[in-house]
Chain length 269, copies 2
Amino acid sequence: MDHPFDIACALVSAGQGRYNGQAPAAYWNMAGPFGGTTAAVLLKAAMLEQPGGVEPVALTVNYCAALVAGEFQIEVREVRSGKSVRHVSMELTQGGTIAATASLVCAWRRETWAHQPAKMPDAPPPDALPPMDTGTRLPWLQRYEFRFVRGAMQLQAQPFAAPQPAHSLLWVADHPRRPLDHLSLAALCDVFFVRVFQVRGTLVPAGTVTMTVHFHASAEEIAAQGDEPVLGVADAQAFGRNFGDQTAQIWSKHGRLLASTTQLAWFKE
Amino acid sequence: MDHPFDIACALVSAGQGRYNGQAPAAYWNMAGPFGGTTAAVLLKAAMLEQPGGVEPVALTVNYCAALVAGEFQIEVREVRSGKSVRHVSMELTQGGTIAATASLVCAWRRETWAHQPAKMPDAPPPDALPPMDTGTRLPWLQRYEFRFVRGAMQLQAQPFAAPQPAHSLLWVADHPRRPLDHLSLAALCDVFFVRVFQVRGTLVPAGTVTMTVHFHASAEEIAAQGDEPVLGVADAQAFGRNFGDQTAQIWSKHGRLLASTTQLAWFKE
């Protein structure tokens, strides 16, 4: 039986650069599916149009409208293909409404000088931490295994009197487990709860409007992670006038920075 | 006489959603103009299509090909306009080549709960630091006043034996001075030298392929900065396989986070 994530990313070709997919019920969030699967399926469509050996470098997804249940269409457009770097644009529509736009930088990446100034935070091993109980919650939460080191969301009856830290550190994996690849890595970049909930201790109407992912690791390094939890770090810099940001990193169990990501989420009040 | 930055951002309407501009000689870099002006002129074109009161929220620019001297065309496309949030796509072409694509999230932003977890780094006042001598260097360098607190680029005859810190802290302003606005703030997000030069101590073929800017401050807060230097902080997380990242923040003299930005730059070897 296919993994729910692979079902969420399943596409049927509808002509050159055109694909049809299904909004994934298994990843449903409050309004529409989890944005991580939308990012992943847009990345998948773009990569299906690339020659062999090309790898993702940078992905930006703009969330324009909530997806509804049922079929969606993706159109992939080749913007510019140089000797090594390629630029691609994607658009996801549903019933004539543009639900998401995206851009991908991808490339034939060769070995070069390499250096990782960022250091993985210290954390106890995932097995030392209990998984968050997601059993009766939203479908998308049940598709992940969250093991918080610190910064688990604490929703209160009333907002905190003073803003709490926006920082979270957690091990996270697909549930059921699935070997990591560029697609699930892209989705994991959106797995952190909207920082405004974390800082205020209460739910307010909110949603991601744009997310950018930078892929630092090779397909081989990502595959070396297997299906074990990755370490996620999320934080925020500023909230105000309806928008708040999130910065995050995804680390392999070996201390390799697999991806870094930033996003802005809208919130109502 | 118009400021060189305003000349760089000058656009002539060529029908609805279409504009013509000129690649700015005053901001020339090694190959084509400084990427910051390209970001600014794309933002300007998109904002010219918006109703009054709409402000920028998030801008992503993908640099697809170097601009050459002469005219370019920008096409702005309205993707989705909700009650408050608006999504726009932009494309810059020159002689039939797509030189840049971009997306903008903009919105009517209202007062809401606000909180700034990020703290401005300590720095001596700009007047206490000498400006970098840019007199005989590339044109775009002469359009800015750089006052480094630390992390000034030190180019060597040979690369450093060991990678140096990617961190830089500097006061920076337009030269000649110009009151800050969203356009010059977008350009300032690309003002930090490619981190790979900084870390390796040598120039290698390199260029920004994608930049994302998040705007945290209101037009009023940005205007309150006047023409005084902003404090810029730049760093990097990972370099390898032809790409290296940059994270940066732009702070007002009052300690307000005006914008945060991430980018990926390609490098050859």
